[in-house]
Subunit: 201 residues, 2 copies
């Protein structure tokens, strides 16, 4: 919503505090994705944002909470996507889920926080917990809920494994030819696998 | 080979130097898998092995070379497996590859160095290079060579993506119910996917 739109609806314009929060979150995303969770400190984030450490703690709490807030904000534009993925016809869910995930990775604005989550989650239990909560359960549990089979959760996780592994090899480890392949060339092979895990025999 | 067997074949028994090398490699595996590549130092490895840093450099060279040697030694028992995976009949390659990878992960002796590779490769380019060289090309290129299709390498990498992603979610991020599922329950779902990537339409 723009400030003008907010005013028309009777809400106050963005305050200086909101700007400071945004600046802290942007700095946090930058630090976490560059250094990973363990090597990032609240002090380093505060310095990069040009504020005092106490202010970071005041707004967000612990390092884990700053991490979760920094990641959550980056996924906010995609917050409604899980509904769209889960709620369409079941025989297209594999392609919808695959396109959703590739959309997030191919978008530079969301790739960085996602790299931060992946880099951090493999080395740190607190970050792994954020990964499980935010990335997996937000999307996976909604998809699994649509499947009326006893092993729905395991199926959804194996579908996620194909997507997570592809992202790892393409965007993180950068294995060729996968890293340079056209996204459509990958999607055409991955989507039926995801579909098969979810609704196959 | 035992010392006695070595003697019978005219080779010298294991020297003290060989024992020291082994101790350094064991310490290196422990350090890299606990701390990841970046936070591990040659000095820390030397200390854990009870030797001088100069000796580590003398035997293995740089930190990257220590890392590669530590990892390679752990995979030595499985060194012939890629042949067995690649050389059997093509219509069983998916299951053979899947069982090989799960065998390495489920074996505590090889799980630790593999965790070290994954944790390190995600955060460090030198470790990612070792991952590409050792883990991927050792197995993947041999499998791809068996496939007589133009996109064999991409297919092999997407098959690897299913395996890497499953390992990530099961052993590293520990997502339930995948983390506690019986290996056979997973293999029965993964093997056909790996097969499909390699030899499917």
């Amino acid at each position: 919503m723009t400030d003008a739109a907010a005013k028309r609806r009777g809400r106050p314009p963005r305050t200086e505090a909101a700007d400071t929060r945004d600046r802290i979150l942007a700095a946090a995303r930058e630090e976490f994705s560059e250094r990973g969770y363990e090597k990032t400190s609240v002090r380093g984030i505060a310095k990069a944002a040009g504020v005092d450490s106490a202010l970071v703690h005041h707004y967000f709490g612990t390092k884990e909470q700053v991490f979760e807030a920094a990641i959550a904000v980056a996924f906010a534009p995609a917050a409604n996507a899980p509904d769209a993925v889960a709620e369409g016809p079941l025989d297209g869910v594999g392609e919808r889920l695959t396109r959703f995930i590739f959309g997030v990775w191919e978008n530079p604005a969301t790739r960085k926080p996602l790299l931060a989550v992946v880099r951090s989650a493999v080395n740190n239990e607190a970050a792994a917990a954020v990964f499980r909560r935010l990335v997996l359960s937000q999307v996976l549990s909604r998809v699994a809920a649509q499947l009326e089979v006893p092993d729905a959760e395991l199926r959804a996780e194996l579908a996620a494994a194909q997507l997570v592994g592809t992202a790892m090899l393409r965007y993180v480890i950068k294995v060729e030819p996968l890293a340079s392949a056209d996204p459509e060339q990958i999607i055409v092979r991955i989507a039926p696998v995801v579909q098969g895990h979810l609704t196959g025999p």
